[in-house]
């Protein structure tokens, strides 16, 4: 069983940030493994531990993103490929979808796992773009995976309920972080990760036909969210504050 997991390095949304002249400035350059991708790695590891096989992680990103690739290797992934970009290209999900599709075009695999979305942009496009470009069946928003033979049964979180869907190999699945708690790399895992094979390719050598000029979606600027007017805190006797606020929801707000 061969799993590939597409992983991305993203800025930590918990780090303080500011907007200067329409640009996003992080106080600290804190970058992490996209949480949804961490869940995808975890799930691939659990499945290969139970059924045998190999997990390879693929990351397209700048040189500094190598630490994120190492993190996935420290979790237990067997090898990795780093498709190196300059980090300045205005690439969107389509660009990465095309780069990854070209990368996978001559690879053998059973399943490619992606995160359901990037934690910083919430786009959630790359996985299904990749599946379409590779002409493979896909399921998004997986909250559970089960492997029987070469068939993966995906529990997908839909709008109202959960759908159990069988995907034949080879296929693509995008993962929610609601399916597991990704393991924290052990010291041993971190030591071992340093010896694991990482192939490095430049994005130009992938020759996916993406360039800054043909990116069709662009971020123009960033803006603060309109602030909410600060509200009021009610402290004191539970009985009293509860009754007071209940009344106000009617008399002042007319929402009940």
């Amino acid at each position: 069983m061969k799993f590939y997991v597409c992983i991305k390095q993203v800025p930590d949304v918990n780090a303080p940030l500011q907007i200067k002249d329409g640009k996003l400035v992080q106080d600290a350059d804190r970058n992490i493994l996209n949480a949804y991708d961490a869940s995808a790695v975890e799930e691939a590891l659990v499945l290969t531990e139970a059924h045998g096989g190999e997990v390879e992680v693929v990351l397209a990103g700048p040189e500094k993103a190598k630490e994120t690739l190492r993190k996935a290797l420290a979790m237990g992934a067997h090898k990795g490929t780093h498709i190196v970009t300059s980090g300045d290209e205005p690439f969107d999900s389509f660009s990465f979808g095309k780069i990854l599709a070209k990368f996978f075009s001559d690879k053998e695999y059973n399943f490619i796992l992606c995160g359901k979305q990037s934690q910083d942009t919430d786009s959630g496009l790359t996985g299904s773009i990749l599946a379409e470009l590779l002409d493979k069946p896909y399921v998004t928003n997986a909250v559970g995976l089960k492997l029987e033979g070469e068939t993966l049964t995906v529990k997908r979180q839909g709008d109202a309920g959960q759908e159990m869907i069988e995907v034949p190999s080879p296929g693509v699945v995008t993962c929610s972080n609601d399916m597991n708690d990704p393991r924290i790399p052990s010291l041993k895992g971190i030591m071992q990760s340093k010896r694991k094979p990482v192939e490095t390719i430049s994005v130009a050598d992938i020759d996916a036909g993406v360039s800054a000029d043909d990116v069709k979606t662009r971020v123009l600027s960033f803006e603060e969210k309109p602030e909410r007017e600060p509200g009021k805190k009610y402290e004191g006797e539970p009985e009293e504050i509860a009754r007071e606020v209940a009344r106000l929801l009617d008399s002042a707000e007319s929402v009940i």
Binding site: P11, V13, L17, L24, Y36, S93, F94, G97, Q119, D120, T121, D122, G124, L125, S128, I129, E132, L133, P137, Y138, V139, T140, N141, V143, Q157, G158, D159, A160, G161, Q162, E163, M164, I165, V167, P168, N177, D178, K216, T217, R218, L220, S221, E223, E224, K225, G231, K232, K233, Y234, E235, P238, E239, I241, A242, R243, A246, R247, L249, V255, I256
Partner: protein
Amino acid sequence: MSTLLTYISVNDGKIKRSSLEVLSRCNQLAKEKGLTSAALVVDQNPGAVTDTLKKYGPSVIYTIENPIFKNHLNTPLLKALSAAVEKINPKLVAFASTEGSKDILGALAANRRASALADMSEFELTDNGVKGKRPVMASKIISAVEAEGECVMITVRSGSYDVVEQEGDTSVEPIDFSFSDDELRLTLKEIISSSSDRIDLSEAEVVIAAGRGVKDEEGRNLISELASVLNAGVGASRALTEAGDYDPSLQIGQTGKVVSPQLYIGIGISGAIQHVAGMANSKVIVAINKDPDAPIFDIADYGLVGDLYKVLPPFIEEIKKVKSEK
């Protein structure tokens, strides 16, 4: 004349309100720019909703009818949408943002060589595409974005636009569609659906959200009681959907659903940014938390500092009283 096409989500024979929000916005843009606003219904029985849909005044309602659309599966939906886009050749295809539309947006756009923007909170047309806004960084920040292309596809967050009824002549045009089982590639084995009589969270006027502070059955009973008094939808933080106390489809936040009710009441919820990402656009926010420094108080209009087990019973009782006085 160029068309703005709104995909209408239908669930159990009912149109999702968020699709009507998108349609209303497209109607308005079509009027401003002299374009055609059309709606597309892909369902096992589109005829059941066309009369209702006419009240919102699209010029054309395109329908694709097939029993396969009883349940969501991306393969037939992609084939249907691809056929519709090919026939109609729209400038814009707009969807309400749902798990169903997020499932296919990227693949459809890749298939039609269109560009795509997900989860917009505002959008307008430009000479060669679409521009607008979308929340990013767990909705802490708004990003102004644009997409170029002869066809742009977008999903729109619920609550972004008002629903407006409008008079007009609407024609209904069925689009031919066939689908055979061997095109499916995926097999839908089972649907584990949560009870269907429940109030749809993304459309509820009042939402009660339970968090880790709701520890036990007693707490959950208080939540249910409050919800029934207020006729509210019940949601939960990830802490409780993960623990199995609430159905996963009830999760509110970055991974879960976006809600924008008139009234949101967060109970025993700390207010992590990933939760707030899904509820910050609520009109009135009430929080009940025993920790006076809980981040949820930074965005709450009414912050009740106290133990939920002590605050909720008199709160429920007083609301009952207020209601009975009306």
